[in-house]
Symmetry: C2
Subunit: 195 residues, 2 copies
């Protein structure tokens, strides 16, 4: 198996902390060979998660393409949560700082910008509560990240149930305005990838 596919599998199963040596072993190559191709853990993560971030961006753009703002908003969130439930490394990568990876950072910013647009469109249509903050998406993704222990189908079922509850909570209800929310958390610090 290629090194980046091996890394992909191990990141998904065990998160981003997997040692480089374990990745090399899984790929059937020497550690030196792995380091020649990916001089830093970041460079490997960058390669592995380019696809993930692209999938994430695509989910948000698909949402924007839906003529119904609320349906588009919900579909994007459901897709992102499924990605997260099936892949332990996803939220970690999405919320990680990529100091050496300008392209990935730019792509994440693009995804967050498009998501903010999606949320605004649903607010303008009176379908999304006004106090929803675009970075509540990270709150939701990190919460789904708390459900990833155990087999994939358990994580997926748990994540879908949590997501259904939250989409209901996000919905504007002109008939009965919701309790005011506590203030947003200070932004989650971007996690340095190496430590």
């Amino acid at each position: 198996m290629s090194a980046d596919m091996s890394a992909r599998e191990l990141f998904a199963a065990r998160g981003l902390d997997v040692p480089m040596a374990a990745i090399a072993r899984h790929a059937g190559v020497g550690v030196a060979t792995l380091y020649r191709r990916f001089p830093t853990r970041e460079s490997l993560i960058t390669e592995v998660f380019a696809d993930q971030l692209a999938a994430c961006l695509a989910a948000v753009y698909d949402g924007l393409a839906d003529p119904d703002p609320w349906r588009g908003f919900c579909a994007a969130i459901r897709t992102l949560c499924d990605l997260q439930a099936l892949d332990r490394g996803f939220t970690a990568a999405f919320t990680a700082a990529f100091p050496g990876a300008v392209d990935l950072d730019a792509q994440r910013d693009r995804a967050m910008g498009a998501f903010a647009e999606l949320a605004q469109r649903a607010k303008d249509a009176g379908q999304l509560r006004a106090d929803f903050a675009p970075d509540d998406l990270l709150l939701l993704l990190k919460a789904c990240g708390g459900l990833t222990a155990g087999p994939a189908e358990t994580a997926l079922a748990a994540s879908r149930r949590l997501t259904a509850y939250l989409l209901h909570a996000f919905r504007a209800d002109p008939g009965r305005p919701p309790e005011p929310l506590p203030p947003r958390a200070p932004p989650f610090a971007m996690t340095p990838l190496t430590r």
Copy 2:
């Protein structure tokens, strides 16, 4: 510092995986001394989390003592989520199997039984949606567990915002019944403490 206080601190900051050697070091005792007092990791965790489970049980009983079922339900959930946000070991311990700790297992069963009663009371009053499952409490606690990275005040703020969204989602709304929920996840496997 005593060994159980040291363990308490390290479990809270780093979760239940902390090596026994690190606990001994933090307590300023030898590993052999630690093992003499706590022959297994489980026996140490049992001692450390007896207080936590008692606090949890008290939160649920306080909820039951409130004459307003919905207010009691919300207060219990808020307290449990705060406990979780401030203590990374809490949900891990709450959802862990304690094979050697009959008392702790019994106490957790008592807490879950009392919580089910609290939920039923709020359903009977028409305040809690009928498809809420008592083990959605574990879903919520595990989701809050996904928010514990970073400083305690960030975790607490994030957890409170998530909890506020979810309490809104749990509320029965006779005017507009919510979308049906996806089925409950298969029960989270009780995590073996030793591995």
